[in-house]
Subunit: 334 residues, 3 copies
Amino acid sequence: MDAFASEQPPVRHILSSSQFDRAFLDYLYTLTTTIRRFDKSREGLNYLRSLLPHKRAMLYFTQPSTRTFLSFQSACHILGITASEIRDASTSSERKGESVEDSLRTFSSYVDLIIMRSPIARLCERIATMLDETPRPVPIINAGSGPDEHPTQALLDIYTLARSLREMGGIEGKTICMVGDLKRGRTVRSLARLLTNYDGVKILFASPPSFRIADDLRQDLSASRFDFEETTDFAGAIAAADAIYMTRIQDEYEGDNAGAQDYHRYHLRAEHLPMLKADCAILHPLPRRDELDPRIDQDPRAKYWRQERNGMWVRVALLTILFGIDDRVQLPDL
Amino acid sequence: MDAFASEQPPVRHILSSSQFDRAFLDYLYTLTTTIRRFDKSREGLNYLRSLLPHKRAMLYFTQPSTRTFLSFQSACHILGITASEIRDASTSSERKGESVEDSLRTFSSYVDLIIMRSPIARLCERIATMLDETPRPVPIINAGSGPDEHPTQALLDIYTLARSLREMGGIEGKTICMVGDLKRGRTVRSLARLLTNYDGVKILFASPPSFRIADDLRQDLSASRFDFEETTDFAGAIAAADAIYMTRIQDEYEGDNAGAQDYHRYHLRAEHLPMLKADCAILHPLPRRDELDPRIDQDPRAKYWRQERNGMWVRVALLTILFGIDDRVQLPDL
Amino acid sequence: MDAFASEQPPVRHILSSSQFDRAFLDYLYTLTTTIRRFDKSREGLNYLRSLLPHKRAMLYFTQPSTRTFLSFQSACHILGITASEIRDASTSSERKGESVEDSLRTFSSYVDLIIMRSPIARLCERIATMLDETPRPVPIINAGSGPDEHPTQALLDIYTLARSLREMGGIEGKTICMVGDLKRGRTVRSLARLLTNYDGVKILFASPPSFRIADDLRQDLSASRFDFEETTDFAGAIAAADAIYMTRIQDEYEGDNAGAQDYHRYHLRAEHLPMLKADCAILHPLPRRDELDPRIDQDPRAKYWRQERNGMWVRVALLTILFGIDDRVQLPDL
């Protein structure tokens, strides 16, 4: 771990999934798996809490969120970090006409880390750049920026894929089927980009024609000679997949919902289970609606609930890296 | 205490006042009184905080509440438990069409306990049953479920009654007058049911005819041969009472408010004080409106403010039981 | 410090800037500067956190606020105090018709301190008086009471003035220019009153005629023979000033906004910088709108961002005084 720390540049902010390479992913996931072992005992948990009790974080979530919010908040609590929150811009100074830059700089006066989710694309980058020019810059974590990116979601998705497929040799060479609203789902964008770090992976994008992946993603994947296919053959795609990544319609964003009426043809139901590979991993970033049948929850191939909890642990690992204490996580004999 | 722990089945959830018997009540109240002694010193409070700092709780309160919320939150803090909160479903994934089961299962991924208050009757039971079938069940506490039940309120009411009447020999054989909106007040339902654990108690239900207790409660009390009387004679009832339990009109629930115009005849005013027994205890679950005159606050028989603070301590005791650390509360020489 | 503690009456509540004399200010600021030194190390921060972990505070903010809220919340966290919050009266019992007195007394049942911001003038005093008559009074801090007072803001403003002017011999004898909506800005009222504690200070009030200071403040300053001048000559005033205190239009309060159209003539822009004294300190309570040009942020005379962070430290100092542990802050060799 020291070796890594000396070779890698320190991570200042977490803004985009494009900032991570394969070495970082491997390091992060080893760290995450180590940290999860601390959860097994009261002593382990108390040790984690002793690492960062002198730090304060701000959760600035002006876009509705439950699980990302709670996952980050819990990750902070696990490390002893005190978390403040702004979830409603109407209780804040923005109502008094303050610019978002001033609001965020204000938060940076009081805390040591800002975790932000916002409907405004690229706001995180703008704020990180602004803060880096002040005498007291604090790290920014992008917890979802509009239709744009959701890098920590992609990190936890890959971690769950890697864990679920580890007895089949890991992610390399696998066929991953991504289903649903591929056009507007930011998790799809972030995840597909991160998967280009793994050799021999093929993505099957299964969606109604009107929900196909966006042009920029298609071009990026083509440019990196990544193997992918777009299809409307839902049944064929899920049968061929080593892992299925289901997503819901993102109709909270403006835009064309034409195609929603075909969406039910892309729902994964208990009836499909016999068609899937015996070791196929089923993931979903949640929340779900009708596209993922709750009767599947009992099937051992359903990984989405542990995917959710993995998210908390991946975020704990990221926090230790951001605060430069990741080398204190590996304790002998704990 | 060990004796108790070995004889009683462990408490997994707190869902209904009907799950408690007299042995449990006696144990809980002894424990509560012990815990309150820790509040007298900085060392005592620091010891309590050292008991559960590795635990995280979720306060899921989708129904407005101040005191129950703060009381539970403070109880968590006293034991070192980190408390997260959801108070507004509009900031949550339910806005994205998630089922309440999925939302609660999500919370259970991040925390070790869910305390929930909801306008939906029997939601707590449904969630507790659902979680018990998952690999990571967490305890559920019912902090008020619609017009249905509010078991921890009943527990703190009985504790306050027992403390207030202890120099008169305790609750046994006493006449308790319950006044107000007896039809819709869930505290009345939970409290009346719990009082059946005490011998020789008589309840006088004083209310306008349209606010009489509901049929199911009447039938339950009759079936258990419990001594009760329904009356419109407010003055007679309060004069006969060893304790008076005032309640407000529950007009936040839908339903018939006919009878509200008679309600003022069931207000306890300073002018009534000379009519009450010298040792009569006056309780109210609060918040109050006009039914309880603030001039009574100064009278030594007014117990409602300490009833409120008792609630916090009873909840601390319940949390130690739920997490199985109640045996660590009795320290020598602290 | 012990000397001070024995001579001064203990501070029970923080309600108005008029309760502070020069001796208190000097003591508070020495304490604040000492506490800021603890921020330099993990050990210092951990020591501060060990001072009050057995205490709980309520932040009752029914008026929108970001920075005052976060500043107090962070101050609590720095001392280990657990902070609960009520930011929206609609989630509370006031919706059930509870009086504000009952609500606040309820909070006092659960916590050890109430920090309140409210649109109701003099509510803090009323609540402090009410609580002082109960068996369990807790301290009240006024964190802004309508158009009335904002004493902790004035305390941090003076601290920032004193720090900024310390190489010029401190606040005594200086000319302070206050600009903007002087009529309704409560920080202006509290700050001007506190400045009367410093000898030889002159205030220049620069504003459109319709935003001049209120009659009561003018009379108070005249009665205490304080040197001040009201002017519409913005350029002349800022050129003469040793410190400039900018404020925004308080249009969230009802009342006459006539004069707002002249307000732009009282904006401080980058073009004004050459006119200012070389050591002039520029302050602003923030949030700002157009009255303070963001291009000024880079100028070394801009003190408003550190003013914001100073606020947190002044509040930490106040909390140690309220809880009577200020004598534990001065540690040797930390």
